[in-house]
Symmetry: C2
Subunit: 449 residues, 2 copies
Amino acid sequence: MIDRKILLAEKDLPQRWYNIAPDLKTPLSPPLHPATHKPLGPEDLAPIFPMALIAQEMTMDPWVEIPNEVMEILKIWRPTPLVRALSLEKALNTKAHIYYKNESVSPAGSHKPNTAVAQVYYNKQEGVKRIATETGAGQWGSALSFACKLFDLECQVYMVRVSFDQKPYRKLLIQSWGGKIDPSPSTITKYGRAVLAKTPQSTGSLGIAISEAIEDTVGREDTKYSLGSVLNHVMLHQTVIGLEAIEQLKSIGEKNPDVIIGCVGGGSNFAGLAFPFLKDKLKGKTNPKVIAVEPMACPTLTKGLFEYDFGDTAGMTPLVLMYTLGHDFIPPGIHAGGLRYHGMAPIVSNLVKDKVVEARAYHQTDCFKSALLFAQTEGILPAPETSHAIHAAIEEAKHAKEGQVIIFNLSGHGHFDLSSYDAYLSNKLEDYEYPMEKIKEALKAVPKI
Amino acid sequence: MIDRKILLAEKDLPQRWYNIAPDLKTPLSPPLHPATHKPLGPEDLAPIFPMALIAQEMTMDPWVEIPNEVMEILKIWRPTPLVRALSLEKALNTKAHIYYKNESVSPAGSHKPNTAVAQVYYNKQEGVKRIATETGAGQWGSALSFACKLFDLECQVYMVRVSFDQKPYRKLLIQSWGGKIDPSPSTITKYGRAVLAKTPQSTGSLGIAISEAIEDTVGREDTKYSLGSVLNHVMLHQTVIGLEAIEQLKSIGEKNPDVIIGCVGGGSNFAGLAFPFLKDKLKGKTNPKVIAVEPMACPTLTKGLFEYDFGDTAGMTPLVLMYTLGHDFIPPGIHAGGLRYHGMAPIVSNLVKDKVVEARAYHQTDCFKSALLFAQTEGILPAPETSHAIHAAIEEAKHAKEGQVIIFNLSGHGHFDLSSYDAYLSNKLEDYEYPMEKIKEALKAVPKI
């Protein structure tokens, strides 16, 4: 009898995070100062991040110890189950073995608490009292609110307006854990007020919300900033996902995956699953197909440029070398709010540029269709973001050879996204594909370095 | 290091359900025909239930085999984790060991699929094509919709109006799994139309919704009825919860629980956890305190009569001997919709009457306060129903002796109940306590047998 759920004991939680940086084919290019365009030193980041995280951002150590206090909290929901999708396989009549890493079992319902807990821990260690952040779909904001409550820090969340309006329950979840939340663009920051003055009906974007959270941070002594994706240290903290998955596949004698899939907004859930598997691929020991899936409406990897750009809209963040659609690109209000970001993690960008990772874009209606098939077989109603990974897994499974192993990251559930299922079920969802001319227009904002 | 999560392998899923009926101090009294008041035979139930479930309803076998096909589906989420609430214990500074059985990990987010899957399986075996049911908070409706999809049966859900309006996301979940849903009182059934004619603004009740689902069933050849609580076979299917918990406590060398707690609406999640532990208590081998917790606004066990009464409002169901507030009692629209029921499972009633189980009632604001403490420590935001069990566990833990073992059933999460948290957080929740005169008035509807 094949087990559906492959479980690990708490004692088998990884003790170290895997840092892919030293294993990359092409070394990472340094982030640059937004004004001088000179490579950044730790002191440039000190106003917004604690020193321990700055060190992790730049480290070339291949492994980083996970502090005991962080491990103890991760054990509230980790190790997460690796699940053999037997019912989905049956419905697809596929020859593949489909596995998903179920990150939806965390309190916030996604992979985001993996890094939230670590980040809040290091902030607390350095005496920080309050953390400001942005959130797109609300997954990150709720994860950070939860982590701040556990360590008794204040939490201020700027939530992209379109999600704030579409997802009132995410807002309530953030409040239930004690976080303070405002829609972005807000009237709290100068930058928010400036955006509203220019575009009173602005639905916001992650780039705008990041600018607001950073402005909030630099204006207050007691506050640091926290980012839920994109940065190297965030990718690092997420590698527990793939490290566990490797042990889980080993424990049942399954072979190395042939296909590894994650959806990408900033890149962190994809990185978390894929990077530990990429360690062997980068050394030429294995050769899995590794797919980063993005929405056609925000095609950063598939249609963007690989250039230095700002992470935010106001141009306050360091410049990083990444795929970008231009830092003032505002994607349409698709329901996968967590994938509406103009940029991409520098490490994920590096891997796509070096063709270690393949990028793919899908329309949201196709993804919702696959999400419903998944819910009606495996039970779990996935987040709209996650549905992009599911759709890719299903597409791959359709023409898979006997015994091919496909693994994807079930990055989150959709319990707070049911209004988007409502839109899909009542045929109100639209697909968007950006004409290249409009993308070229947006790309003009990318600074010349 | 103490593990938070005590896990069982899929192969350790119980193979048999435990039937408490033969172990009761006082034998169960037979259900009576609604018109003749004579004891019911299986043929009287045949129009609404498949024969296999009727047999289970009446069996005196102490153990009932779980069919393989049911086990295979239960494994999508079972065995569920038993969790040591270390963070809650720390926050309470209690000497107790608090454990909760996490039934919120099921696809529908509660214990309800345990019986939904079994019931749909037996219906499918006997050629049934469509199942009609009622739902209060929506937990049962979504569980049945999910189970029907897995076995390819149609599902018609009558949802109590107050929940239908308060919980639009539950409705969408039911629809995502393919179920059809209408608010009750509806215009579909004669009974629904009659209620609406009399009370156009009716917020509905479980009793009314049951009447509608039964009317729907008896009017159609292809349809049977399914109930998510109250009946003996439902309690039976839920005993996997307690059977697993016993194995889980044994596996870590923990002693028998001193206190066992579940919230009660119809009684099934309480029964599921408690009955397997009661086996030894009924034989005098152990003597745990076993607490059934209900809302002060619907105090069936604490203020009702132990009499024969109808399960529904229209008087279409058999008469069963139970605690009841009178079959036309309409509780106020509290947020724990699943606990708004005038009656109680005959077996749970029998155990309370015989003082094997203690009943207790709490106000909803106290329960929400405890629910937030739980969410802010253990991470999981509980269903409003479940918060009643949590509140009792916290009250017990406050004056517990060193090493006292408290276990409660975390029957469901509150992801679709965030509007009720909104009401609580914004101080809009009211508590209701029924004056005895009003209860006496309602009890006049209890028929004289």
